[in-house]
Amino acid sequence: MKNIKIALVGQPNVGKSMLLNAMGKAREHVGNFTGVTVEKKTIEFEYQGYLLSMVDLPGTYMLADYSQEEKITSDFLKHEQYDIILNIVDSTNLERNLQLTSELLNMDKKMVIALNMSDEATKENISINSNYMSELLGVDAIKVSALTKDGIEQLLSNIIKTHKQIKKESKLVFSEAIEEEITNIVQFLDKNKFVNILEKRQCDNFNTSLSYRKIAIDLLSEQKYIYKKLHDEPIWTSLQPVVLKAIEHIKIHHNEDVMIDIMADEYMSFNQGIINETVETSKDITTQPSITQKIDNILIHPIFGIPIFLFFMWALFQLTFEIGSIPMDYIDEFFGSFGDTVGGFIAHDELRSLIVDGLIAGVGAVVLFVPNIVILFVGIALLEGTGYMSRVAYLLDGFFHKFGLHGQSFIPLVTGFGCSIPAYMSARILKNDKDRLLTMFIIGFMSCGARLPVYVLFVGAFFAPQHAGNILFAIYMGGALLGLVLAKVLKMTAFKGVSEPFVMEMPKYRMPSVVLVWHTVKSKTMMYLKKAGTFIAAASMLVWFASSYPKNIELSNSYETKIETAGDEKKSELTNELNEKLLELSYLGQVGKFIEPVFTPLGMDWKMAVALQTGLAAKEVVVSTLGVLYSLGGDVDEENSSLIERLSKNISFASAVAFIIIIMTYLPCLAATIVFAKEAGGWRYAGYLFVFTSIVAYALAFIGYNIAL
């Protein structure tokens, strides 16, 4: 089957992910991490006997290299192999969107334009003559709506049609002065028989190379890559004066001394011409304040804006706890009875213990928290999908800036409440390396979804149910505030330097697409469950093994005789004592005992110390470790069967406080640490992070313990 490789390009907030989703039938799912598409993503599906592979490029306003995302896109378009550009534009804001389109026209590639959100445009009384626009641009422009799925078929068949045809000549023209200089350079290249070996790109059925015209335009736009390439060619020495003179001439003619301004202005007037010819807007609508403006009057109100935001966050955590706790009882019950049923079928004592106490108890403890995690992810997806996220960045930038952070740091930081891994990756929106690293260092203080189980467990065990939601909110806010303070400390010491400018679009408010939110939440929940099924299941069994072996038969025997001769009451007491001692002598117990002295000042016993160590692998393992440790040893009284009750019986309040503080502040999971090292640019950064977080965690836990004591 023939393959067509399509590069998907568009400005941010044009509904690119949604359009991809609407094309359906795709092999790969869309929207990898909440909202921000950082990684290149390829989606493949068959259409009319062709295999279409679409590469989803990060949204960019212009082909610049301001941020890492913009760089990814512009590098891909310049250097990679692909057949067609699919440019997605927002029909309701063509003035801005065509700016990128006209730059793309310059790429000298086959192209199709998707006029997305055409349903919204109709509602706003914007009518676009797409046929005439296609004619003027020399590129097919198709009206589509990702929401209503109108025009998708037509778009796809047009991609095939364009692919089959020979590339049309670009109709992008500049003003007279620039056209004149382009002609000069083209003639110079032609006269010198410049062999264009620059970029022979093998396409499906023909060879293209950069046309002279494209070389000329890129030279005049002062695009670095073309200078780099031509620099090594012998022709450069004679070409250079021609280019210099051309630029000089254009600058004088435009009475402007920066080429990017001139070129931007050129594109803008070209676009304005297109819009004047093809777009009609009825005037009466535009004078009224838009819905977005009305909502903004409340949500970004100078005084009420921040309290409203805090209220939303508070409500989210309340919901997480209140609604999340409803299905938890059922899940808990299910795993309990499931364990009993399975246990009934296994005759072998140790195997039964492995399956029931190790595997099922461990995984069950993690699955228990799926409802909470789903609610949290839905909340974050809504925050991003509606456009509210950037308002919050606007509201908080002044405040954040005081702590040495950037308003846009807010996005990775909030994502951090879901999971640190996408948070580290979304930190790429910060252009300045120091700002980015600083943000990444404190992402861990935003408690991720995986820590939620630990908090829910401990809050449930040590606080009254009516305070639980508030305590949870306090834990999350406390972590966030601590992160800010530490950011300031780091900014004054390790990350001194200039801050990145803050210039950001505030997109229109939109109803978030149910489909897209569902996709994001589903893929993240599946990721969590997958982790529960594989990594955590293995870790649970390992913990079980380490806590059940080596078997101490002598001790067991000596107790058994005692138990047999003892009275009924003494019997259960002795059994508990035996289990406790066996656990202490196990491998895990030995490790725990060894490190116990370090944790004694925090009021923790070896079991808690071990749980913290296993938590370095993943925070969910903390819960399953505690589950295994406190179900094998300690109290075996049937009535105190829940882990919450066992914890509140065995752990003092002050130690619990210290434990929560450490969970809040120490290193996130192993996977996140690996991603951190990758994104930060080296393992030594992971080392710094480990030292930094460990010191903070230990010091604060010590203080917390002594206050709570």
Partner: protein, 72 residues
Amino acid sequence: MKITEAVIGQEYVVKKLHTTGALRQRLISFGILKGVHIKYLAHTNLKSTYEIRVGKMNIALRKDEAQKIEVQ
């Protein structure tokens, strides 16, 4: 005058961008360049961040950046 000295709700024309390099590129990619009409919409409580409208797009700027845009 600078945007930071402007009146909320008024429309202005960009006169000059007092910056170069990455920030200039950034402003231009948002359509902020000489001769363009912009509307000053709002600022945060402590005047640390400003909101302006260029064409149909709302843009948030920090004080330092807003001061680099000269309007009339």
